[in-house]
Symmetry: C2
Subunit: 494 residues, 2 copies
């Protein structure tokens, strides 16, 4: 696409100047509509070194209210960044509904640099492109307007600009060896850029190639596309994205009603002995996976009063507190709710070598949000695939993902609720909402069955913890965690 690109006819300077002004004011007005409609807008600028991204961004935002946008500039990944999945440091920056984020380069730049240096090739490159396309599609499908601009200048123009920057003592520092190499190997980069643009050009997040031989003219082209894109997105507030096929291997899993809870018990003495032994094992493993830099994600879902808290405690008490974190997941905060539903989980991931335990998870999307109508039917129907994609992303990064469903029967829940209600020091644990949720047990059961069957992938399988006897469930959880971590440690050398 870049190779075929031909500059559009450029009006004369006076016309451009006037039109830029008009479009800037139009963008300022659009900003209010964006705010009203709670539409989140991502605008991405990529392009050749010295194509003038900074100056062009400056012109684009000139008339905007600074409370409603942010500009983020791609820096070199920090050591911390490198301990997270590739997509994370970009996804951290996505705007909330009603606001803009302008990205002064983002995951294209990193990817094309790595392709240029030969760090990612073949299957790795393809996997990266898949990740990016999925992420952009998922942002779009969840209501984001994503517009991507590539600032194009030819080799001669680039050379001229780099030279001018070098000759001025105030700007000489801005010209790096990478920039100069890019100009020397312009055609190689052209190949890489062209391929990337083709590979990631989708209706859900289209590329616009911008003739940047003149910066004001470049700004005008961008402003026009941007205003047009905003108008279109505002018309599509009620858009329901297509529900794509879930292409991940799903393993069969029993329905809740088929899970026997009988005889899933353990004697106190046996429990004590096992607990000590398993916790000691887990402690050792924790050090090993810290050394091997394996990230671990443990997910707890289950009925109210099923015993999640006590179960988690038996895991954490075996762990070095410097190497794990428990993330209790309640209703999203307003700033979380205003973003992609997975954002608040992207921001809570463990670093490599660390463990994060989620006490409730992203599966809220297909349980409480489904049942309470906090999202549309299309949203939760799409979410199974989105969640599998998210977990696949984490798995590709190297994470061990262990998902627990803590299962009790309806009668057991009632007994535990009553006990909580009748025991003064436990009463804080039971709320009116718990009772209300309990009335929706049958609806939850349908939702949980669908969730288990549609997200039971080979790379992130569900494990059922039969928890009428909480001790039984704790021992089972520990064994599964140990087993999975052992396998992961065995797989990974160093």
């Amino acid at each position: 696409m870049l190779k075929d690109f031909v500059k559009a006819f450029r009006p004369d300077d006076a016309q451009v100047r006037e039109a830029v002004k008009d479009e800037q004011l139009r963008l300022a007005a659009n900003q209010m509509k964006i705010k009203e409609a709670k539409l989140p807008v991502m605008v991405v600028f990529e392009g050749w070194s010295a194509a003038g991204k900074g100056e062009v961004i400056g012109r684009v935002i000139k008339e905007m209210d600074p409370r409603f946008y942010r500009v983020t500039t791609l820096s070199k990944p920090t050591e911390t960044d490198l301990r997270y999945p590739f997509l994370r440091r970009f996804l951290m920056e996505i705007p909330e509904g009603g606001k803009f984020t302008f990205f002064d380069q983002y995951w294209m730049k990193d990817t094309t640099e790595e392709a240029a240096s030969g760090e990612i090739t073949g299957a790795d490159y393809k996997r990266r492109i898949d990740s990016i396309n999925r992420a952009e599609r998922s942002l779009h499908d969840n209501g984001y307007l994503v517009m991507k601009f590539f600032l194009q200048i030819d080799r001669k123009e680039q050379k001229k600009r780099l030279k001018a920057l070098q000759e001025d003592e105030n700007t000489a520092w801005r010209v790096t060896e990478t920039d100069l190499r890019q100009n020397r190997h312009y055609d190689e980069y052209l190949d890489i850029y062209d391929r990337y643009l083709e590979d990631t050009n989708r209706s859900v997040a289209p590329w616009y190639i911008i003739d940047s031989s003149n910066k004001r003219w470049a700004a005008l082209q961008i402003l026009r596309f941007l205003n047009q894109g905003i108008s279109t997105a505002l018309q599509n507030q009620a858009y329901a994205a297509p529900i794509l096929q879930n292409t991940f291997r799903l393993e069969p899993i029993p329905k809740l009603s088929e899970i026997s809870l009988k005889n899933k018990t353990i004697e106190q003495a046996e429990y004590k002995k096992e607990l000590d032994k398993l916790q000691a094992q887990l402690r050792e493993l924790h050090y090993e996976l810290y050394r091997k830099k394996i990230p671990v994600i443990i997910c707890y879902e289950g009925w109210d009063a099923a015993g999640k808290g006590g179960n988690i405690k038996r895991i954490t008490s075996a762990l070095d507190p410097r190497g794990f974190e428990v993330q209790p997941i309640a209703s999203p905060e307003p700033h979380e709710k205003a973003r992609h539903f997975l954002w608040r989980f992207w921001t809570r991931l463990p670093k490599t070598g660390h463990i994060t335990i989620f006490d409730r998870t992203w599966y809220g999307r297909v349980m409480v949000e489904r049942i309470e109508g906090f999202c549309s039917e299309n949203d939760w129907q799409r979410a199974y695939n989105e969640i599998n994609e998210f977990e696949k992303e984490l798995n590709d990064w190297g994470a061990v993902i262990i998902k627990f469903w803590v299962q009790i029967d309806n009668q057991t829940q009632l007994e535990r609720f009553n006990e909580r209600q009748n025991t003064p020091e436990k009463r804080w644990k039971i709320t009116d909402e718990d009772w209300r949720n309990r009335e929706k047990w049958p609806q939850y059961e349908v939702a949980v069955d669908e969730m288990l069957s549609k997200t039971n992938t080979s790379f992130a399988p569900w494990h059922i913890l039969e928890s009428v006897d909480k001790k039984y469930a704790r021992i089972k959880a520990l064994k599964i965690v140990i087993d999975e971590l052992q396998k992961a440690c065995d797989r990974k050398k160093s």
Copy 2:
């Protein structure tokens, strides 16, 4: 995507049987909603030989009302088909709003067969994929629901089925040498299919891979996706598609107000002489391009009373009547209006070696439809790119495209209108609508300027015919046609 595909968990036969029934009835009900919403639905079935497409389609449509769907089966292209652009014979079959077309194979099969035989490779394959992706995107953007199913069976299963078909004397004839070759070279085909599916899997027209090891189960998977897709599409009736960048080279072109009409005249004697000479030339050229099988498309747009009819007559009177057609384009018929706006032009294309003259064209989309509000703003804004893509498709096929804008000034139109009004034998040529359109001259002028500047591509440029002196315009048109045809004949050998 095919290579990674893993079968989903399959419920037992009784469950499948019951669920198929439910989904069939749901589809029958959806069909009425489709009709109500005037939504056009394209359902495509592709897959391995002996995957059971026929039987599966039968199950899918079982409960549907036959008045609202059509099944088209891909046959070998006829000799006539081969004289048209590749996409045409498929696009001919697209449904009108409110109806379904089920395609028992379509442009995937042709493309993958040609890729398998080595007929299309490299740049040709890529161009084909681009054409297909553009066509599917344009269908989606213009309100079509496009769902594509690939019926997957493994090599062993295919072998077993082919053998069973061969052994039964009633079905033996159905097994072709191609089918057997496919089974022998299963892995090669897998590569080709996988690549095609990846290359054409887009949110606007997604692929769904269907485990077809059991036909009833295959039907169930399809019915579920289909019903879900329909629900989603029904929610998106007001969808406005993104306005993509027009990536074709646009040549600068003057605004109408900048076109001088002064001194664009010709003496009668000179006219007579020139006309005879040019028509003789054109006659000769017509035979040459017939022999060389070059298709020619000549487009006339212009102000009312600008002299289009007389101009066209001077062209056609030089042509062999067996080798050209004039297509007068009025408002679309209901069955045309119910389809993609370019459909009625796809069905009117010339065969190779033939000339079609369009008296008014697809540019109605960005003129009368824009000004009269017959389509949405998003529709006509998107149309510039859609039209350029359409013309590019025709150009890639080998067509010569000549577009005329027949220009007069406002005063000249008034004089001609009055003359028509006052001359009894010409009065039929002037209607109230002409007078109403005349009042909108300034709006048309804006629309025409935008149209000319956004569709003046190198492969299908506009030519202005200054037509205050109609004779001048006729001579100019003949010269341009001769010039363009001569160039095309020179380019093409045989």
